[in-house]
Symmetry: C2
Subunit: 302 residues, 2 copies
């Protein structure tokens, strides 16, 4: 096991993603290196890359972080009660991109590794990751393409992986208080230890490397679509669901904010502009109604 190798991969992945999408947008990402001060509950460092008010992206954040803490938080030990309170190390890359164009979907990627020292003195580690897509207007071909890329990324690790991670994603990105899926899903995996360090690291890399081919073609196809105030209004309204999910249900966001994580990096996922309105419900025979009926539901896309 080499955490240094994981760190190098993650920094390279971030650099690659930021260079690619910065060039597509035409505006560069601002890079903000940070380091936790001695005495803070979490120790460690990170690199936050963010692009705001771009030509294509209204807000695109991509963060790397590598932290160490004295006590593994409860959110991370749901399936490992024996590790509650153990010293730990966590590193990962997390991104959320919010395009300007309402026809271009919001996307989320996260890949991470955790290591903890068990009471026995043994170091335990696991990998996690996933990506998911949140359209404002549904396109069947985009959903099929995104899911196909997800499937291709994880199938080398077993034929059972895509169905399992796809279902996990649907279950995780669900807004119970709205009875809605967050978007058309993708893949989500946590606590992955199968095949030891080498296999887990490979899976994480395979997911990370699939991000550009999964999202870029969709972005390029949709980012110049013509739209009016109607689509913009709907996009702003729907972005409210993104906020609700991340602040109410997302374990990572919640834990981070409550335990002394770096607020500005954690909240990079927030959309740049959002609206709420009372009981807004589009008619079912409109493209907006179609989104609810055919896309914000659990479906087998491929």
């Amino acid at each position: 096991m080499s955490i240094e190798k994981v760190r190098s991969y993650l920094l390279e992945l971030q650099d690659n993603i930021v260079a690619t999408f910065g060039s597509v947008d035409g505006c560069e990402f601002t890079k903000d290196k940070w380091k936790k001060r001695a005495g803070e509950p979490l120790q460690g460092d990170g690199l936050t890359c963010i692009l705001e008010s771009g030509d294509i992206f209204e807000r695109a954040g991509c963060g790397f972080s590598h932290v160490r803490g004295a006590k593994l938080p409860p959110t991370a030990t749901q399936h490992r009660p024996e590790l509650a309170g153990a010293p730990f190390e966590a590193l990962g890359v997390s991104l959320v991109f919010h395009p300007n164009n309402p026809y271009a979907p919001t996307v989320h990627l996260n890949v991470r590794m955790l290591a903890a020292v068990a009471p026995s003195g043994e170091t335990v580690f696991w990998f996690g990751g996933g990506m998911d897509l949140t359209p404002y207007y549904g396109f069947e071909e985009d959903a099929v393409h995104f899911h196909t890329m997800c499937k291709m990324a994880v199938t080398p690790f077993g034929a059972d992986k895509y169905p399992k991670f796809k279902t996990w994603c649907d279950e995780y990105f669900y807004l119970k208080h709205r009875k809605e899926q967050r978007g058309i899903g993708g893949i989500f995996v946590d606590d992955f230890t199968e095949g030891g360090f080498a296999n887990g690291f490979s899976l994480m890399q395979s997911i990370g490397n699939a991000f550009i081919p999964a999202y870029l073609p969709i972005l390029e196809k949709r980012c110049d679509a013509r739209f009016t105030q109607r689509e913009r209004d709907f996009q702003l309204y729907r972005r409210g669901r993104y906020v609700e999910f991340n602040l109410v249900w997302d374990r990572g966001t919640h834990f981070g904010l409550q335990s002394g994580g770096r607020t500005e990096s954690i909240l990079m996922s927030m959309p740049p502009m959002v609206s709420w309105a009372y009981k807004r419900k589009p008619r079912s025979d409109t493209p907006e109604g179609d989104l609810y009926k055919h896309y914000l539901v659990r479906r087998d896309w491929i």
Copy 2:
């Protein structure tokens, strides 16, 4: 003890507030009566009043609700472990008003009563309530006026009440992850049982009745102030903190969303339009910087 009397008072208070501010705005509140369907986790009814895109209010919601449940939620039994899981009844009025004008502050009021049947068969009840003000631009005289009205409302119940409820408010409306107060505070009280039903009901009425004199003069003084895009941008940005507080920290919102409350009524508190930006920090010699330095901190206003 008469829950019917409390219900009548709350409906009257709501009606009074909605009539007053509807008339000030010039647009009427939409009234939406609702009833929980049989089989839902909570039973009961409510009246949601909302005004959107008004002349003065961008979004103003004022809700009455009266629910019964089989099991008192943990958020309501922090100080009463013996009542965990007891059948309960809760009724209250809750409001959040978001004006268009960035010089006019957002305001929040909540008054409520809870009753639960203890394992002994005895009915236990308590009252709670409070109001607090969230300016985007600080005015010392507004803060003094608001706190004076709060103090006048609770002082008849004991000289210790205002200092105690003021501190409670400061502690409750605090964004730990930002190290900021939500606004200039006000009063907050929960679990009030002192002096029995009659005294608790009186306190609740006194707080409810203080709302119009506390807020209306401030609104009238600020709602026609001239402003530019700069103030509007800052208002939208600061409204993000309101969202963060309500979705991450507010016990009522959180419990409601996670336990099957009525989502559209609970989220009436969300601002109509909100923005987020990375590390936005105004210079300290600007009016925006002044808000952070002199208003979003704990201060004795009177």
